[in-house]
């Protein structure tokens, strides 16, 4: 079997690359593990979270899981926010994507739609300074951002954070309503705007890939608060939506249940080696051009095997992540409205240097559609009294997730090492340690955030460091380079040392801004796909 293009992975970048290629007339085969939920999606009734809680006698199945999956995690960990209907995102990962690390716990996915199936939907454009630092071509990126925004549909406001979220993008839908605690905090911010701006803080409504108006057969959000559980009405953009649309196109083929291991390249094309995930039987597909979009960690495995030197160390970037549970005293003991969405309510950016670089990003969530027992587990009080106290506190609780930018340093790298137990006979070793300077910058920024939150009426009750990898933002393993060196990418996305192998995920980013990276990943993927198209002359 020979096709023009093989795209590996169906996540945010793979689906964008495939769509760009197919729309340009190319034939595309998408290779994907393709794990998907077969249990819970049909169980979740239409309706809003609060009403369902009082009426649906089957709610325990999707809230706790048939095997009580929700109860499994004893501590705060990467992926602990995945509800049972989203657990398929990490299905089979331990077996097929093994990792050894004492200081890094990443989230990897073999799902249809990849990590995009659990994406928090936050959309941010990088500043030109950030794009330059990351090695991204800003002129092309600005055009590509618009293409992606038009494809996926973004809602957002024209407020103080717009320069950080949608900037000059057109066709942005009106923002969705926010809840009472967020409204209160935003009003306080407006009254103290000058003081906060002087400290480099900007607050506003986040831009979300969640519709507030109908678009392309998708419905606006019903404000049911079920975003952690279902994709009702397709109001939230997910990569599987794009893949499903592509599957109706005769130039697109989707092959699931395959795991890509490596590649070889000859003058007449690329051989892609993969195996069936059930039988482990090897398959080889031929194509003129290979586009790797498996996610940074999975792509690094494929490239290390493909070049035949698995022990080479590749650098790694990951946004350090901290979250800060806060109480808004003015909202104590209030009820919560039945109609609300459960994603980020507010965004709080910190641009201390006022230079468009080294910007921190905080997304502010209400604790609305997740269960109270998760908080009970973390509370150092007896269960009976903690329940009463948390029930009272819940409406005033905000969770502020703060992402910090990341650059290269010596103790952040990945490499492959032998593992006879693994189907691929190897596993990824990851080292990720911040140096003293980086630790100090993170701590300093968190102190600034705690002070700023106090100004807007939100009192921090704890600072939680869930461990490295918890941001689920990974990049930089194959940095963009102008030199033709192995284990780097040309600015076109081509893998140096190859002719027709491109990398469309975040592997090339040389700097990882704190802003949510998914929109930038998709924009870059669109550019890479166009570059790949122009280098492969259609037959």
């Amino acid at each position: 079997m020979t096709s023009d293009f093989v795209v590996v992975g169906s996540g945010a970048t793979g689906s964008v690359a495939a769509q760009t290629l197919v729309e340009s007339g190319a034939s595309v085969v998408m290779l994907d593990a393709g794990r998907h939920d077969t249990t819970y999606s049909s169980l979740i009734p239409t309706g809003n979270f609060v009403e369902l809680r009082g009426t649906d006698s089957g709610q325990h199945r999707y809230l706790l899981g048939d095997n009580f999956e929700s109860l499994a995690s004893a501590t705060v960990a990467t992926g602990s926010q995945l509800t049972p209907p989203r657990r398929h995102v990490i299905d089979a990962v331990d077996r097929f994507l093994p990792i050894r690390s004492s200081d890094f716990t990443p989230l990897q996915s073999l799902a249809l739609g990849g990590l995009g199936s659990a994406w928090g939907l936050g959309c941010c454009v990088y500043s030109r300074e950030e794009m330059n630092a990351a090695g991204l071509p800003w002129r092309e990126m600005e055009a590509a951002y618009q293409v992606i925004a038009s494809r996926i549909g973004i809602s957002g406001a024209d407020d103080d954070v717009r320069p950080f979220t949608t900037a000059d993008l057109r066709d942005i839908q009106p923002p969705l309503p926010i809840d009472k605690s967020a409204e209160y905090v935003l009003e306080r911010y407006k009254k103290r705007r000058a003081r906060l701006h002087a400290r480099g803080f900007y607050m506003g409504r986040p831009a979300l890939a969640l519709l507030s108006q109908p678009k392309d057969g998708r419905s606006p959000s019903a404000l049911g608060g079920m975003e952690f559980y279902s994709d009702e009405g397709r109001s939230a953009w997910r990569p599987w939506i794009a893949v499903e649309q592509l599957r109706s196109n005769s130039r697109f083929s989707y092959i699931s249940n395959v795991f890509v291991t490596h590649f070889t390249e000859t003058d007449d094309g690329v051989s892609v080696y993969c195996f069936d995930m059930q039988t482990l039987q090897q398959r080889i597909l031929r194509c003129r051009c290979l586009i790797l979009a498996a996610g940074v960690l999975a792509t690094s495995r494929i490239v290390l095997r493909g070049f035949g030197k698995p022990s080479v160390r590749l650098p790694l970037l990951c946004n350090p992540y901290t979250y800060i549970p806060c109480i808004v005293p003015a909202r104590l003991g209030k009820s919560m409205p039945a109609q609300d969405m459960s994603l980020a309510q507010l965004a709080l950016f910190h641009d201390g240097g006022q230079n468009g670089l080294d910007i921190g990003m905080g997304f502010i969530y209400s604790y609305r559609a997740l269960m109270l027992f998760r908080l009970l587990r973390e509370t150092p009080l007896n269960t009976r009294d903690a329940r009463i106290l948390l029930q009272y506190l819940m409406s005033s609780l905000l969770i502020v997730g703060v992402h910090h930018p990341d650059g290269y340093s010596t103790d952040k790298y990945v490499t492959l090492e032998p593992d006879p137990e693994s189907p691929t006979k190897d596993r990824l070793f990851i080292s990720y340690r911040l140096n003293d300077g980086e630790e100090a910058r993170v701590a300093s920024r968190i102190r600034e955030y705690v002070r700023a939150l106090r100004v807007v009426g939100a009192l921090a009750i704890k600072i939680v460091k869930p461990g490295h990898g918890a941001s689920i933002h990974y990049a930089g393993t194959l940095p963009f380079s102008s030199k033709e060196e192995r284990y780097t990418l040309a600015t076109s996305g081509r893998l140096h040392g190859t002719k027709n192998i491109y990398v469309a995920d975040g592997s090339g980013f040389k700097y990882l801004p704190a802003k949510g990276l998914t929109l930038s990943l998709m924009a870059n993927s669109h550019i890479v796909a166009r570059n790949a198209l122009s280098s492969v002359v259609p037959r």
């Binding site: 009580f68 109270l372 009294d385 903690a386």
Partner: protein
């Protein structure tokens, strides 16, 4: 003591009311997936079930000193099961409270601290 009795006692402790058969059955199913309860952990659970007045104390002490203990895990499991039932979800969802409810909250907080302190004194005697 049977696990059904354990569910009933723990349910009474968490919510102050009897729990239904479906929740009890879910508790049994969840516990069957847990590691076996042995050693000191088993002794603590057994003591709580025989002396119900001690549950709040030992639960509070273990919330500070032994979050992964069997007693804590089982109480959280049952709380999660009750929370995911239409019969009991109102005991977990936020509700509007008057200003004077703050005094109730203060009392509960003080009770929690006092029971944890008592539990810390009691815990060393359980082996």
């Amino acid at each position: 003591m049977k696990l059904t009795d354990e569910a009933s006692i723990f349910g009474q402790y968490i919510l102050g009311k009897s729990i239904d058969i479906a929740s009890t059955e879910r508790y049994l199913a969840a516990i069957s997936r847990e590691p076996p309860n042995v050693g000191r952990d088993a002794a603590i659970v057994e003591f709580c079930l025989r002396h119900r007045w001690s549950i709040g104390m030992l639960d509070g002490a273990l919330a500070l000193l032994g979050r992964r203990s069997t007693l804590r895990r089982r109480l959280i499991i049952l709380a999660a099961i009750l929370e995911a039932s239409p019969l009991y979800c109102d005991d977990f969802l936020p509700v509007s409270r008057s200003f004077t409810y703050r005094f109730v909250v203060l009392f509960v907080a003080l009770r929690a601290v006092a029971s944890a302190a008592a539990g810390c004194l009691l815990l060393p005697f359980l082996k």
